[in-house]
Amino acid sequence: MAVQTVAGNATTASPDLGPAAALSCRECGERFELGPLFACASCFGPLEVAYDLPTGSPEELRKRIEAGPDNIWRYAPLLPVPADVADKPNLNPGFTKLVKAYNLARELGVTGGLYVKDDSGNPTHSFKDRVVAIAVEAARAFGFTTLSCSSTGNLAGAVGAAAARAGLRSCVFIPHDLEQGKVVMAAVYGGELVGIEGNYDDVNRFCSELIGDPLGEGWGFVNVNLRPYYGEGSKTLAYEICEQLGWRLPDQIVIPIASGSQLTKIDKGLQELIKLGLVEDRPYKIFGAQAEGCSPVSAAFKAGHDVVRPQKPNTIAKSLAIGNPADGPYVLDIARRTGGAVEDVTDEQVVDAIKLLARTEGIFGETAGGVTLGVTKKLIEAGVIDPTLTTVVVNTGDGLKTLDAVSATSQATATIKPSLDAFRAAGLGTA
């Protein structure tokens, strides 16, 4: 198939993005040269990176990966980044803990092994550092000097921090009513932070228009014109989970859905590992998790539809509050292809799940993590997730970012005078 010429404002003729070979339309298959493009000129479908993946024996590649740095750059041969990426100023995210959740497994009746992939351990405390790190390399390759994004909060902080480290200017856009913690965590890195009067979908629309205007010339929007590269960062979750399981696919994996990109890229990552012979090809199921107050993909899954009708979000899980999820149709395809499901939980169940994870495993997840664990619990109880199989739950961010969600029900047990009598009178202690 012919490769179309880049029509965007790329400033580098042949960017060094390692094994990335071209951009390919996920809908119609048309191919384009690597550049700051995100939508197919023929059908508006999403573009994604096509690769010349490594050849050679799986054993050699596995050894090469295992000898790499303890961050996502160990997988550089599978990512759209230059070979010397680890030597450049970057936040070096990834290789977060895969926690074997013994107590949580006992509580939920899971006997096949339950794991939490805890991405709160990233530099700005969410999985967004993975995707932004890839976008920074694309921004460099295309000669962009300003890094930008539309964000529900986590991404704004990740972009601000990554830009600071990379020596780029940043200007990020968020809904004006975000949680205060996320506002501070985005603003502290010194870039420009702009609150837009509207919800995330309004912010996203604004950024899409800015990108076509001279006001946005020379800007790399990580999740708009750099989106094909940015999204690839989520594949590293799949790589790490499999490597940490001993180069083995999990049987079941539960992933939160905002735009749905993360879920689709985890699936892509698993498929690549199979293709490269790094893991044994065996069935796995992918489950998607949404909050009831923003559940367009879950609603479409349950209704048997293959298109997603947008919703107006109303949930405490603001990082997942995307009413018009760009990758929704692909999430439906993947959930159905793998025999998984898409489910949603109420805000009350989200809070309960945040506290369950904290109480059983000492992991304080943000609301998105509460959504994912809440859906996991619901699907186990419904007999949809098999408790006898290996299950991985993805916690995408740190609970410190969404304190409001649990602050009302997470307070001091008692306030007493500094005396043993008062302690005893409060019914505390063991005697």
Binding site: L37, F38, N204, G212, R227, S234, S259, N324
Partner: protein
């Protein structure tokens, strides 16, 4: 009814590079017909073979997503701003 239509970068080859063009119509389907008359070929990029909005195209009339306002039957009042935007942006 006269409206202004914001054209995304990937469709500007049809509008001679213009980011905003005028069009006529009382509802979105008529506005797209008007666009096609002035900029042949553009309708096929926005609509699929069945004449429906492509699934990765978002269209707004002023601040409203037309999928909440009747789709191609969404009213386009005189002076309205119509924005055509690729749907694949955003998110994680």
């Amino acid at each position: 009814m006269s409206v202004k239509v914001r054209i995304p970068t990937i469709l500007r080859t049809y509008t001679g590079g213009q980011a905003e063009v005028p069009a006529e119509g009382t509802k979105l389907s008529e506005v797209i017909e008007s666009l096609e008359k002035d900029h042949p070929g553009i309708a096929a990029r926005v609509l699929d073979d069945q004449g429906k909005l492509r699934r990765f195209v978002n269209v707004y009339v002023n601040d409203d997503d037309v999928r909440f306002e009747g789709g191609l039957d969404a009213a386009t009042p005189d002076g309205a701003g119509v924005s055509i935007i690729p749907a694949v942006a955003g998110g994680c």
